[in-house]
């Protein structure tokens, strides 16, 4: 594809013209690429079936009966996902057929797990609710799923061409920064578990950072596409690596500074890592300069180290990571991590089965630690399946990035797919003690609206880009040698 991408040109008419002219003139019509909407529908039905099966299984384990809610929730969930499917048929018929079923499965499993946690209650006492949960948590999660799917359809409906977003590069930049900064403002942000990433709007807690991620991805894509020629200019070559010119370091330093500010003012190491990682990878994709990755990575590690020395909240993360089972930590700062690990260990390879484990011992198991609940009840087997689902979504996103023609969309898709992967890596790696634990949500699974709605919007953007990528180019039909009629796809 890179052969047909005209470098440095955000607008694509030239590229398309080139492509069209390259196509050999043929007598027989080219077979039309298939939209694969039937495949999507079949897989969606399978995903919905799995979710309903999981829901029934929770009820059978915990009460011996299929929960009465299966009719209402089942119909609501099915209708919701079918609406998403119909919207795709109408708005993005060429989009990737895998993404919706995969996202639907994750969303559904998340609802089932939240229902399961709500049923068992704190410490397994059904009379008491787990903190930040209520007896209506499941219903609320279904409502948020509806909002999420609505946002998904809205994104597909409003953004017909991903390139149009490029016009609003700086608008999205400002929106992203504002969203990031809001929780840090005194009087607006609420501190939860040491991190100031929430704001309260009309009784609902919203994490603006989740949406900032999307806005900033758009901003980075637009900015980097415009500036990538300058940024890829090499300065000196040291140890086989092309170093950028010193004066071009500006943007990376600004992004680094911004992520450090998040770290300092919102004490949220997870979000900070996410933004900086997103920026670095998009910078690398735009410039193809490995040096950016090395410089940025070095800056981040240095920044995190200094922060860990200066801020107790950050330094504590390293203590928890290194000494979780120490006597003074087990019932204190590392309680949550070790309870999560105990849960996963308890589940073993095959898991206890949904509803049979004791995930309720782990604090915040419904949000940051929901993956440990899946590990406990679905076992290593189920957890690997969930990781593979994420892997597949990310892979389909990267595929769309590779396939799409215009550089802005390419960069945006690559960034979005990577940030999803990074988010999964940071939280799953954190709860499994692969890396220091930082509290961020698990996309689609965790309780809470912001993450779910933002995840659906992210999927919508990726599907829009894949739709653009897979949409067949207008077919020139040779008619009487002279007149070209362009048939739209």
């Amino acid at each position: 594809m890179s052969a047909v991408t005209s470098p440095g040109q955000p607008g694509e008419p030239a590229a398309r013209a080139t492509r069209t002219s390259l196509r050999p003139v043929q007598e027989i019509p080219v077979p039309m690429p298939r939209g694969r909407r039937q495949t999507e529908l079949a897989m969606l039905a399978f995903a919905i079936g799995l979710v309903l099966f999981a829901y029934a299984s929770v009820g059978l384990s915990m009460t011996g009966r299929i929960p009465a809610g299966i009719v209402v929730y089942g119909i609501a969930f099915t209708v919701l996902m079918l609406l998403a499917h119909l919207a795709i048929r109408w708005l993005a018929p060429w989009a990737d057929p895998l993404m919706l079923p995969l996202a639907a499965l994750l969303n559904g499993l998340g609802i089932v797990m939240i229902y399961r946690l709500q049923q068992s209650g704190r410490d397994g006492n059904s009379g008491r609710v787990i903190s930040t949960m209520s007896t209506s948590s499941t219903a609320l999660q279904v409502v948020w799923s509806t909002v999420g799917v609505a946002a998904f359809i809205a994104v597909l409906a409003v953004i017909r061409e991903p390139r149009t977003l490029q016009r609003y590069t700086y608008t999205f930049g400002v929106i992203g920064l504002v969203l990031l900064a809001i929780p840090a403002l005194p009087g607006i942000g609420t501190e939860v578990n040491g991190a100031k990433v929430w704001i309260s709007v009309g009784g609902f807690s919203i994490q603006p950072g989740e949406f900032a991620k999307l806005a900033l991805a758009v901003f980075f894509a637009g900015y980097l596409v415009a500036k990538r020629d300058v940024l890829s200019l090499a300065g000196r070559r040291v140890l086989g690596i092309d170093l950028p010119r010193a004066r071009d370091l500006g943007p990376v330093l600004i992004a680094w500074g911004a992520s450090l500010l998040i770290l300092i003012f919102e004490t949220d190491i997870g979000q900070s890592a996410l933004f900086f990682g997103l920026f670095l990878v998009m910078l690398y994709i735009a410039t193809q300069r490995t040096s950016w990755l090395l410089i940025g990575g070095g800056l981040f590690v240095a920044g995190a180290y200094v922060a860990s020395q200066l801020f107790g909240h950050v330094g504590e993360r390293f203590t928890i990571w290194l000494h979780p089972f120490a006597a003074q930590n087990v019932y204190g700062i590392s309680y949550q991590l070790v309870q999560g690990l105990y849960g996963m260990g308890f589940g073993g390879v095959l898991g206890t089965g949904l509803g049979n484990g004791q995930p309720y011992w782990t604090p915040l198991v419904q949000s940051d630690f929901i993956i440990t609940a899946f590990g406990e009840e679905l076992g290593l087997t189920g957890l690997m399946a969930i990781l593979l689902i994420y892997g597949l979504i990310v892979q389909r996103g990267m595929r769309a990035a590779v396939a799409v023609r215009d550089p802005f969309s390419k960069l945006l898709a690559g960034g979005l797919a990577f940030v999803l992967a990074l988010q999964v890596f940071v939280i799953v790696g954190g709860v499994t003690r692969l890396i220091p634990l930082t509290g961020i949500t698990t996309p689609f699974l965790s309780q809470g609206g912001s993450s779910l709605v933002a995840s659906w919007m992210l999927i919508a953007l990726l599907m829009r880009i894949s739709d653009t990528a897979r949409r067949p180019a207008p077919q020139p039909i040779q008619e009487e040698g002279l007149t070209q009629v362009v048939r739209g796809g």
């Binding site: 019932y331 990267m398 003690r433």
Partner: protein, 497 residues
């Protein structure tokens, strides 16, 4: 850009591979080591997923069982007669256990190595895992009577009954006590609340007064002083001993007096400065006689005798840990303190169990059997896993001395002058006993503790009882009727069989 995208795809692939390796490590390799880490609530709560073994009395009454419940835990502990047996069974809660629930946990929970093969067979045949049944030596008639009698006194008290021939504990009651059913809750907040309530209650309901609280033995200690005297070979029950009304104590202006300042006179000591037979002094419990006797014998000899009766032993387990009953060191072998210690005052301390052991040793021809409470343990398939064997704890006194002491104790009940004649004399059951009324509090201003030790029937001893009622007043008044009721209930239950 596609080149960079492909490289990033490889990075993402690496990230997911790392995650997969991570979860494989945690869930594939680590579970065994995680399961035994501290604070693993899941491992602990596992025990409620199967049926824990029952605890039953010697006459097959269930006193602790696991019943099927709905909810996240499959079985919940239930104590059918909670308060009566609380000091025996203890409780089994989410976080901790006490009593037999704690000491026999391996059998009850099925984790004992002897049950491994059994559990494996169950696993293969698909039967649910079950714990072993623990049968105690406790007799339901004796236990129920003991607890009800203590409760009726309304005072902090403890009672223990032993089979003198085997050491089997027939009853072990304490009042005030707690309801172990409240500890069986699965609600951790409620559990904390209950535990705090019991822990800080002024009445100390969690204290097992039968074995874990010590009281001054008072005159019941004269059994030890008397035994020391007989063992010395210089005395028989008929030896005439110095019996002053007031005993002058060397090195102090204080004088030892008898109860209510009475003279020690059987008609042959009108001056209050002569002698009486030792058996008379024991029967009416003359402090001056035994104080003087103690000074003559010396604290070392008394201590040796006390140790043979099981005192000063911090390691006794029945299998519940027993607080040591103490015959204290006497600073500089001070004669005055020795005199006080010889009549069960000064710093002498005994548990109700120790009181029962005094009588048990005398009843069993001087041989003190090790007290025990677990008779046998049976696997769910009825395979015996443990059977109690009686063991000698010590030869407390020679059979001759035991016979002499027994004769004196019989007299305490039989003789109309005896301190226990009015409250422990039964026409159909011959009881041998010693009463004690222990003064305590600063300057002996506190209410007297009522202490009683006895065995019955005299000809063929089947039960030895120790009772202490704190602040009960006279041992003969407060404690003796309780002991008599326990004896009657136990012998009646044995007669039925």
């Amino acid at each position: 850009m596609n080149h960079a995208l492909r490289r990033i795809s490889l990075v993402i692939l690496g990230m997911f591979l790392l995650l997969l390796l991570g979860v494989n490590y945690v869930q594939g390799f680590e579970p065994a080591s995680l399961a035994v880490q501290r604070g693993n609530a899941r491992t602990f709560s596992q025990q409620y997923q199967f049926q824990r073994g029952s605890i039953i009395t010697s006459d097959n009454k269930v006193i602790a069982e696991s019943v099927r419940v709905k909810g996240i835990y499959s079985y919940q502990r239930r104590y059918p007669v909670p308060t009566t047996y609380a000091p025996v069974t203890g409780y089994d809660s989410l976080y901790s256990a006490t009593g037999i629930e704690q000491t026999e946990d391996k059998f009850l929970s099925g984790s004992d190595p002897q049950l491994t093969v059994h559990n494996l067979i169950d696993l293969i045949t698909g039967k649910p895992k079950r714990g072993a049944t623990v049968q105690l030596t406790v007799n339901s008639a004796a236990q129920t009577t003991a607890y009800n009698a203590l409760k009726a006194s309304g005072l902090p008290s403890g009672a223990v009954a032993i089979d003198p021939k085997t050491g089997a504990i027939l009853a072990l009651a304490s009042y005030p006590t707690f309801n172990p059913n409240k500890y069986a809750t699965f609600d951790s907040a409620e559990l904390r609340q209950i535990d705090n309530h019991y822990r800080f209650a002024h009445s100390q309901p969690l204290l097992n007064r039968a074995i874990n609280q010590t009281f001054p033995p008072g005159s019941t200690f004269k059994v030890v002083t008397g035994s020391t005297a007989f063992t010395s070979g210089k005395y028989t029950p008929d030896s005439r001993v110095y019996a002053p009304t007031n005993l002058k104590l060397p090195g102090t202006s204080k004088e030892l007096i008898n109860f209510d300042n009475l003279p020690c006179d059987d008609g042959s000591n009108p001056t209050g400065n002569g002698t009486v037979p030792l058996i008379f002094a024991f029967t009416v419990s003359c402090n001056t006689v035994f104080g003087n006797l103690g000074m003559k014998l010396g604290d070392t000899a008394i201590r040796q005798q006390a140790v043979k009766f099981g005192m000063n032993d911090p390691n006794l387990r029945i299998p519940l840990p027993v607080s040591p009953s103490v015959y204290p060191p006497i600073p500089g072998h001070d004669p005055a303190l020795t005199a006080y210690s010889a009549i069960g005052q000064y710093n002498d301390q005994v548990t109700p169990l120790q009181e029962a052991m005094f009588s048990a040793a005398i009843a069993n021809n001087g041989t003190l059997m090790t007290p025990y409470m677990v008779q046998k343990v049976t696997a769910p398939d009825l395979t015996p896993l443990f059977n109690a064997q009686s063991a000698v704890l010590s030869q407390a006194v020679s059979p001759t001395v035991a016979a002499d002491m027994s004769r004196m104790m019989v007299n305490v009940v039989k003789s109309p002058q005896g301190t226990a004649h009015n409250t422990a004399f039964l026409p159909n059951i011959a009881i041998a006993a010693k009463t004690g009324t222990a003064q305590n509090g600063a300057n002996n201003t506190g209410l007297d503790d009522a202490v009683f030790t006895c065995f019955a029937p005299v000809g063929n001893p089947q039960i030895a009882v120790g009772v202490i009622v704190k602040g009960g007043g006279l041992g003969a008044d407060a404690s003796a009727p309780i002991a008599v009721k326990i004896i009657q209930a136990y012998l009646a239950s044995q007669a039925k069989q």
